[in-house]
């Protein structure tokens, strides 16, 4: 149907106007985001927080690491549908990956997995990737400091 939303992805020119339309996959992740929530302190091996505290999108991300791989991941996000959907997809991509694999996840991977996202919402996917990297750094720091879980 050519009257559906998501037209921007369907090849209409960028000038398709000020409004942002999301595709079905993005909508689905917005409605049913994966891995929402938070890990309790005992379970948390790494925590990341990104975003301006005063305004704009904000994201918190927790990881639990077992045998060098992400065993559990959870997020909370204050933000637009794009932020919620990209965070959700990011956690899905990262879940089960080794830390080394998880470090290599880019915002392009997230966007691709979602089948595209409106140009002006690209920064949302970056937010998730940065939260994940922050959580991984936190895990590395805790490990280096010896206060990680065994």
């Amino acid at each position: 149907m050519d009257d559906e939303p998501g037209t921007e992805e369907q090849g209409l020119p960028e000038m398709a106007g000020p409004v942002i339309y999301y595709n079905e996959t993005v909508l689905e992740h917005f409605v049913c985001p994966r891995n929402v929530g938070q890990l309790d302190d005992q379970e948390t091996d790494g925590f990341g927080l990104v975003g301006d505290p005063i305004c704009g999108d904000q994201m918190k991300l927790w990881i639990s690491v077992r045998d060098g791989a992400i065993a559990r991941i959870a997020f909370r996000s204050f933000g637009c549908p794009g932020a919620i959907a990209t965070s959700s997809m990011l956690t899905e991509l990262a879940d089960g990956k080794t830390i080394e694999e998880a470090k290599r996840i880019t915002d392009d991977d997230v966007v691709e997995a979602l089948g595209g996202i409106p140009e002006r919402k690209r920064h949302c996917s970056l937010l998730g990737v940065r939260a994940l990297q922050a959580a991984i750094s936190d895990w590395e720091r805790r490990r280096a400091a010896g206060d990680g879980r065994p």
């Binding site: 000020p18 909508l27 938070q38 909370r76 933000g79 637009c80 549908p81 919620i84």
Partner: protein, 386 residues
């Protein structure tokens, strides 16, 4: 579909469409053509002008037809600024104007005018002391909107007119959101220039008007033929003008009853929202407002997500003015009222209209409560977050 975004646009009234159809079918002449078939179209345009003048209390010759409310605002601001250039270069407006006025004032700044953007009080009403203080001998033009598109807050245009009139300053008001919602008498409002738009009051898109009080200095924005007394050249959108007039006439006839009905529903909506949803606030509630508009803020979540959540349930509302949607910045209107950025980001606008019924309101509150709860469950800003 439950449509609660009447401040963005409204359905074309069937009577307005009926009035237009002859001009889209058999009476397609050019109003400037020198034969009877052209006179038929000319007569339609002039009867439309006379009807609007009658409904809104002005002279027909004081109305200039335009293509949009935005164009009417541009004609007012750029037209008056250019015509008055010789007298001074200072313009006064507010921090809560629609982009049509705001961005046009910014454009005039780039052309060398000095513009003061007045603050508003927390209730959303422009600060009259600040306005008085801003006027100086160089001030040629003041532009203060009549009703705000996001909050519905009504500005004291009559009182501002008293200030500008005694100083010989031209006053423009953007009445795009008040025309059709409040009883409007252009001769009594006091503004010299008043913009309003067809598609906001159940008329067609592509038709709007600028009222320019007789004698108000004004240069055209669009030059060419002699149309609209030289103030807006170009072949007239005849059918649109006819439908616009029909819509204005019908809206004027029913405005008081409809204002009553909408006000009651709007109050019901706000009462229910505040009762059903924790940490919800109504912006501008302390000020006089047009009866159909409600600006609601919800702590800890994002307005765009609320709008999408409602859309997925078949309910149409918006985050703010239609033409700034997608803008990641929080509403400049709410920020100007002192609403914190995070709260402003979690705001939506609900605007009721002719087809709105009580059960639409109730269903919307229910959906809103669900969505707000769900989004707060996701949010990193809730009390429960680490």
């Amino acid at each position: 579909m439950i449509y609660l975004d009447h401040n963005a646009t409204t359905p074309l009234r069937p009577q307005a469409l009926e009035a237009m159809l002859p001009y889209l079918r058999e009476r397609w002449g050019n109003p400037s053509s020198p034969y009877r078939f052209g006179a038929e179209a000319r007569s339609a345009v002039e009867r439309a002008r006379a009807r609007i003048a009658e409904a809104l209390g002005c002279q027909p010759a004081e109305l200039v037809f335009c293509g949009s409310g935005t164009e009417a605002d541009n004609l007012a601001l750029r037209g008056a600024a250019q015509a008055l250039r010789g007298r001074g270069n200072h313009i006064v407006t507010t921090a809560i104007e629609h982009h049509a006025v705001w961005h046009t004032c910014q454009a005039l700044e780039r052309e060398g005018f000095r513009v003061s953007y007045l603050p508003v009080r927390p209730d959303g009403v422009v600060d009259l002391d600040a306005l008085t203080a801003s006027l100086c001998p160089e001030t040629i033009l003041v532009s203060v909107m009549h009703a705000n598109n996001e909050t519905g807050v009504i500005q004291p245009v009559e009182r501002i007119a008293a200030l500008t009139r005694e100083r010989g300053i031209v006053l423009h008001t953007d009445a795009v959101q008040s025309a059709g919602k409040l009883p409007l008498r252009l001769d009594r409002l006091g503004a010299d220039l008043v913009a309003f738009s067809g598609h906001k009051l159940y008329g067609p898109k592509g038709a709007a008007a600028l009222y320019a009080r007789q004698g108000t200095p004004l240069a055209p924005l669009i030059t060419g033929g002699d149309h609209e007394r030289g103030l807006r050249a170009g072949t007239e959108h005849v059918a649109g003008i006819v439908g616009f007039a029909e819509a204005v006439a019908l809206a004027s006839a029913e405005v008081e009853a409809e204002a009553q009905r909408l006000g009651t529903m709007r109050d019901r909506l706000e009462r229910q929202v505040v009762a059903a949803i924790p940490d919800a606030a109504v912006n501008g509630a302390a000020a006089p407002r047009v009866p159909n508009t409600s600006s609601l803020s919800f702590r800890g979540i994002d307005g765009e997500s609320i709008v999408l959540g409602l859309d997925l349930r078949g309910i149409c509302v918006s985050t703010g003015s239609a033409c700034s949607t997608g803008d990641p910045e929080p509403s400049h209107v709410l920020l100007a009222m002192g609403v914190p950025a995070r709260t402003a980001q979690g705001s939506i606008r609900v605007s009721l209209g002719r087809e709105t019924r009580t059960d639409h309101v109730d269903a919307t509150v229910q959906a809103l409560a669900d969505i707000v709860e769900r989004l707060r469950g996701i949010s990193s800003l809730g009390g429960e977050a680490a």
